[in-house]
């Protein structure tokens, strides 16, 4: 038997422990991944409902209840190349996150226009039109962008006037616990509805600032103390996704539809 402190012994024990631990961890991760992904799907669908105003933020809905409420949402796909809505893609199975990561289905964004820090943009952009009750029409769009530590994902909805925010929810982020993760606090998110988005020249003017700021109060949402980087990231996300490279053309198309029924 080798001496306890021999280099060979040290290497053998280190390799053995490393092998055992990596097998243990990868087995567990492999086995649990499907369950975690299923839950992530539920979270995401729930976020769509919350943004659309079809589910209260603090309620937890079952799988079936979530599916049932989706009948009030009409999914659509906007084709950035032809600048029109398309039916060539099935909106139910379309995964915009996978498409954005696939070079064949996305285009790189030049750095000066890539406000959200996402690198590539999918050709087809999904959105939902909610038509519950007729009058309370809302447009729900997915938004995402680089946050403090990882990508922030959420859904934003606009009122039928396409000028004001109707709802917002974030379903995935890696922001600092206790600081940046307050982007999920109901108190803060509750300030969003009603905030104006576009100025007269169609530029995105929605911004985050403390209540003492006098600049464009109708366009202001409170910033979060201590979460400067996170809030700035969310602001850039809004500017990008509501702007000309994001959903602005699709929204204008919807506005035109409303004008000529």
């Amino acid at each position: 038997m080798a001496r306890r402190e021999s280099p060979l012994r040290t290497l053998t024990v280190a390799a053995g422990v490393a092998l055992f631990c990596s097998l243990l961890v990868s087995t567990v991760v492999y086995w649990l991944r499907p369950m975690q992904l299923a839950y992530a799907d539920i979270e995401r669908n729930f976020a769509i409902l919350v943004a659309a105003g079809l589910a209260p933020r603090d309620e937890s809905l079952g799988d079936r209840e979530i599916v049932a409420r989706f009948v009030d949402l009409e999914p659509r796909i906007f084709d950035r190349e032809t600048q029109s809505f398309t039916s060539s893609i099935d909106p139910i199975t379309y995964e915009y996150r996978a498409a954005a990561a696939d070079p064949g289905r996305s285009t790189p964004l030049p750095a000066d226009r890539d406000l959200a820090g996402i690198g590539t943009l999918a050709r087809y952009l999904p959105l939902y039109v909610s038509s519950s009750g007729g009058s309370a029409r809302r447009i729900v769009i997915p938004i995402y962008g680089r946050g403090m530590w990882s990508t922030i994902h959420g859904y934003l909805s606009l009122n039928a006037d396409l000028q004001t925010i109707a709802g917002i929810s974030f379903y995935e982020h890696g922001e600092t616990p206790g600081i940046g993760d307050r982007i999920q606090s109901p108190d803060w998110l509750g300030q969003w509805p009603g905030t104006r988005i576009y100025a007269m020249d169609d530029s995105v003017q929605i911004h985050f600032a403390p209540p003492s700021s006098n600049l464009l109060p109708d366009y202001r949402i409170d910033s979060i103390t201590g979460a400067t980087v996170t809030v700035a990231a969310v602001e850039r996300m809004l500017r990008f996704w509501l702007g000309p490279d994001g959903y602005r053309p699709a929204l204008q198309l919807i506005a035109a539809e409303g004008a000529t029924p």
């Binding site: 306890r4 402190e5 021999s6 012994r9 040290t10 024990v13 280190a14 422990v17 490393a18 631990c21 243990l24 961890v25 567990v28 991760v29 649990l32 369950m35 975690q36 839950y39 979270e43 937890s60 616990p177 993760d181």
Partner: protein
């Protein structure tokens, strides 16, 4: 034989009150502050820490004769970190809501001084079964404090226990005005401080700590 078992039994149960890792050794405080604003996360965290303690104690004890001194700590940390990842993944798969509340504090079990403290001071010198038991008992000692603090904070801070209303709050038309300080981290400091005082006062003149505890306390003050 019987007396031997009784003496041994008393000694092994010491971490629950007499040698409690939190109130006596003052270890593992930061997680105790962070996850006790309600009872459910405190319970889940208790189970998580106990499971990690048992696994790491058993694994370290199993390897204690073949572990070279030069890489002793890194081997222990690797085993502990792996156990924590496994627990974290399990929580994310089966209780995702609670996992979201516990957030980073599950991952931070790696740096919980109780875990490395027990591995170093007990599991390195004792058999697998005894080490497993030591992990369980120390986990229970940690759990006892977490559950106590979690109960007090949720009851006074939200008027509920495990999310069920116990004291009808003013907001629900009752008489109880929730103490919002209880939902903030400083309240855990106060409660644990009072608890430490109470435990020490009740035990009378505190005996000198036996060597293992002091060794554990020296290991680090970060957790």
């Amino acid at each position: 034989m019987m007396a031997n078992i009784r003496v041994h039994g008393r000694r092994i149960l010491r971490p629950i009150v007499d040698d409690n890792p939190i109130t006596v050794q003052i270890l593992g405080l930061c997680s105790a502050l962070a996850v006790t604003s309600a009872l459910l996360p405190a319970l889940i965290m208790s189970v998580a820490v106990t499971a990690v303690l048992m696994f790491s104690n058993a694994a370290v004890s199993l390897l204690r004769h073949i572990m070279p001194r030069s890489i002793r700590l890194i081997v222990e940390m690797t085993l502990i970190a792996s156990a924590v990842i496994v627990v974290d993944q399990l929580l994310r798969a089966f209780v995702p809501d609670v996992a979201a509340v516990l957030s980073v504090f599950v991952g931070l079990i790696v740096t919980n001084c109780i875990v490395l403290g027990r591995a170093e001071s007990y599991a390195m010198h004792n058999g697998v079964f005894a080490s497993l038991l030591d992990g369980l008992i120390n986990g229970l000692g940690y759990s006892a404090v977490l559950i106590l603090v979690g109960t007090v904070r949720e009851l006074l801070g939200s008027g509920s226990l495990l999310g069920r209303p116990v004291l009808p709050t003013l907001a629900d038309g009752g008489w109880y005005r929730p103490n919002e300080l209880m939902l903030l981290a400083p309240s855990a400091f106060f409660i644990i401080g009072l608890l430490i005082w109470a435990v020490h006062a009740l035990r009378g003149k505190q005996r000198r700590e036996p060597a293992p505890s002091r060794q554990a306390a020296k290991l680090g003050q970060t957790g």
